[in-house]
């Protein structure tokens, strides 16, 4: 009896250190269970290389974790992730643009960040590491969505806002001084483009500026907002607010297109790709800071020649000083996996994203953290201050469970006025009717 007691006490004494961590003990033993994480992301060869390296490092530091990294074409990955969710087979970690991730978030398919496990005292501490408002779209501030007040559901891989890249050589070739004559208003953009444009009959062979067709919510809606319009009213009830602003913005596009001054259009090769070639095909285009890295890889001579510059997003004469909206790529974690896997997944994501400067330097992805924006790498990138300044007069892109449809409807309106000679007033009337139907249906 005594021997047995002695044995029990000895065992208890020896095992005491195992339980020394107190309340974290169950978490600790749960964390050590072997875990396999799958990560799905879109194609980006440089980022892939870097993140696979991070995965190797993380697996070395955490031998119970296995990470499987898969890439998919960016136009398909949204469908693949949603199909996987439908089949209850979604990856542990994935990333999507905010507009595409949002419906998954509101459907409760995303796991909240376990801030303490990541080393933060509370959510606010995490939020403070970012520029103001950068986590708002994925924070359940008042707990209305999931009852967990203040929880955060995504971490930004990237935050993008567009400014205008300008090819100085083409400006000079057209008799303009890039440093003085660069456009500050949309009216300027039109005037300057008219001077730069070259044509072969109807077909444009050199463009001045051309829009980023397709991403209308991101890069065209700000034009409407400058004129006082809105996609949806603040109370969420009315669609296409201030039709006059919308009509004016559509009129601008009609004047721009083949049935107006013929300065560009959606069927010409995509501006941002053509610009990088520097083959005298386009003088200005909209893109983010990441474009610089692409320029560097695809055309180092052009990049290094510094014969280009970046200027702020133009504003309509007399319009509100609003710059291009910004949008995000968020990393999110699947809520359908066991909780210990969720924690591990978030730990890995945080580990990857902690290398903010590496993301910026090697892949040109800007995380909206204070550390990155005030760091040396950011400051060393040409014209990064232009992007930073524009950020201060910008707001996040419109996002909702049906924002892709809104984008399509706007696309239809713009194409109708540009290509099919529909009157802007009619296009706006139809747009308002259709978007209102969507808003009503989804309220």
């Amino acid at each position: 009896m005594k021997k047995l007691l002695g044995l029990v006490l000895a065992v208890a004494a020896l095992s005491a250190p195992l339980f020394a961590n107190g309340s974290q003990d169950s978490a600790a033993s749960a964390e050590k269970k072997p875990v396999t994480l799958t990560l799905w992301t879109h194609e980006d060869p440089n980022r892939q290389k870097m993140e696979e390296q991070f995965a190797a490092e993380y697996m070395a530091q955490n031998p119970h974790v296995t990470i499987k990294y898969s890439v998919f074409p960016s136009t398909k990955i949204q469908d693949l992730i949603s199909s996987a969710y439908a089949a209850k087979n979604a990856p542990s970690i994935w990333n999507l643009e905010l507009q595409k991730a949002y419906p998954l978030y509101t459907a409760g398919l995303v796991a909240p960040i376990p801030v303490q496990a990541l080393g933060f005292k509370n959510e606010q501490a995490l939020i403070d590491t970012y520029l103001p408002g950068m986590l708002d779209p994925v924070t359940d501030k008042d707990g209305k969505l999931f009852g967990k007040k203040g929880k955060i559901y995504g971490l930004p891989l990237e935050m993008v806002n567009f400014c205008i890249y300008l090819n100085k050589k083409i400006f000079r070739d057209a008799g303009l001084d890039p440093d003085k004559d660069y456009p500050k208003t949309w009216e300027d953009v039109m005037a300057v483009s008219e001077k730069i444009v070259k044509r072969n009959g109807d077909i444009i062979t050199r463009r001045g500026f051309d829009f980023r067709y397709g991403d209308y919510l991101i890069s065209w809606v700000p034009m409407v907002e400058q004129l006082g319009g809105k996609v949806v009213s603040d109370d969420g009830k009315e669609a296409i607010v201030n039709t006059q602003a919308w009509i004016k913005a559509l009129q601008f596009m009609q004047d721009w297109g083949p049935n107006g001054k013929n300065l560009g259009g959606p069927t010409y090769p995509v501006a941002r790709k053509v610009f990088d070639n520097n083959k005298d095909e386009i003088a200005m285009h909209l893109s983010g800071l990441y474009q610089e890295a692409r320029m560097k890889t695809s055309n180092p001579d052009f990049y290094n020649s510094k014969d280009w510059m970046v200027i702020p997003y133009p504003v309509f004469k007399g319009g509100k000083d609003i710059a291009n909206t910004y949008y995000f790529q968020y990393y999110m974690v699947n809520s359908q996996i066991p909780e210990n896997e969720q924690v591990e997944a978030w730990k890995f994501v945080a580990y990857m994203l902690s290398h903010g400067d590496m993301y910026l330097e090697k892949v040109a992805l800007t995380q909206p953290t204070k550390k990155v924006f005030e760091g040396e790498v950011f400051k060393s990138m040409p014209y990064s201050n232009v992007f930073y300044n524009d950020l201060k007069r910008a707001h996040v892109v419109y996002h909702s469970s049906f924002s892709w449809r809104v984008n399509e409807l706007i696309k239809e309106a713009i194409e109708n006025v540009m290509m099919n000679k529909v009157a802007p007033a009619d296009a706006v009337a139809k747009l308002k009717k259709d978007v209102q139907a969507l808003v009503d249906e989804n309220r």
Partner: protein, 306 residues
């Protein structure tokens, strides 16, 4: 007595044969049940429910609500219009042209392989590749515009292949026609070459002329092949997806070419509204079924045997 035994023997033989008939189709039945019937039934029953594809909330029965919505939605009817326009504009030229070409090839009697290879070659490209090539061709500075300009002796005219509503429909038809002309020509040639020569020999012995041989022998004996070709062509056109999908993804206007399959795809995978997508699937299916039955009846009524 004798006939009775013979009758029994015949029935026995027939029964054995019938059993073998079943054995031979069992693999097909199993396969289609797992990979076609089950998913189809699954997809179809959902037309009576409200279900968000990604949401873990289980489907909610709403009866005919989805049907009412779809049948009243202008978006749906636009898809119907787009699909019908595309199908009629493509399958009729396809069937006729491939028959003509197949006949021409067999008539001139030489280099069958070479001709078939030439016409079939577009089909060897995958849809993704074909879309890439055609997008380059249809771009304003591409060779499509150059070709039209040379024909019309103008310069710098942009046909707006991928930007104007009407032209983009024509562009999809052109691409589809180009891709499948060889496919159906090959099918026709298979059918033509299957006609045994003895028939023609018998006909010539009887003194038939070439055109008589053509109209009285070749065409009628091609009926099964023609039926095959026109049904398959029609169904393929009604089911068309990738050309329109890839074009709209690269920025072409969606409304003119929003064929029903594209609408189904987007409704399920972007709106996540599986119920509504299922409704459109059922409507498409019923349409195809009716059209196929009509075609089969028409072709069976003049079945030729020899």
């Amino acid at each position: 007595m004798n006939t009775e035994r013979k009758g029994k023997k015949r029935r026995g033989v027939e029964q054995v044969q019938a059993r073998w008939g079943w054995y031979f189709v069992i693999p097909a039945i199993v396969f289609f049940s797992i990979f076609s019937f089950y998913p189809i039934i699954n997809a179809f029953t959902l037309s009576f429910f409200k279900k968000n594809m990604i949401s873990p909330i289980p489907p909610r029965f709403i009866g005919l609500e989805n049907y009412i919505y779809v049948l009243q939605s202008s978006d749906f009817w636009n898809s119907v219009r787009a699909t019908l326009t595309f199908t009629l504009g493509t399958f009729i030229p396809l069937v006729i042209a491939s028959l003509v070409i197949a006949l021409l090839i067999t008539l001139q009697g030489r280099n069958f392989r070479l001709w078939q290879l030439l016409y079939y070659s577009p089909a060897v490209l995958s849809s993704a590749v074909a879309a890439l090539i055609w997008m380059l061709i249809f771009t304003p500075t591409g060779i499509a515009n150059q070709f039209v300009n040379t024909l019309r002796n103008t310069s710098g005219m942009d046909m707006r292949w991928l930007s104007s509503g009407e032209m983009v429909q024509i562009s999809t038809m052109i691409v589809y026609f180009w891709k499948y002309i060889g496919y159906f020509t090959v099918l026709y040639i298979t059918g033509i070459t299957k006609i045994p020569a003895v028939i023609y020999e018998a006909a010539t012995i009887d003194g038939a002329s070439r055109s008589q041989a053509f109209f009285k022998i070749t065409l009628p004996l091609l009926k099964p092949t023609t039926a095959l070709v026109s049904i398959v062509a029609m169904l393929q056109c009604l089911k068309t997806f990738s050309t329109q999908f890839l074009f709209t993804q690269s920025g072409a206007p969606k409304a003119p070419i929003n064929v029903i399959t594209l609408n189904i795809y987007n409704t399920a995978l972007k709106d996540y509204n599986v119920g509504r997508a299922s409704v459109m699937s059922i409507l498409l299916f019923v349409t195809m079924l009716i059209l196929t039955i009509i075609q089969l009846k028409v072709s069976r009524s003049d079945d030729v045997t020899y």
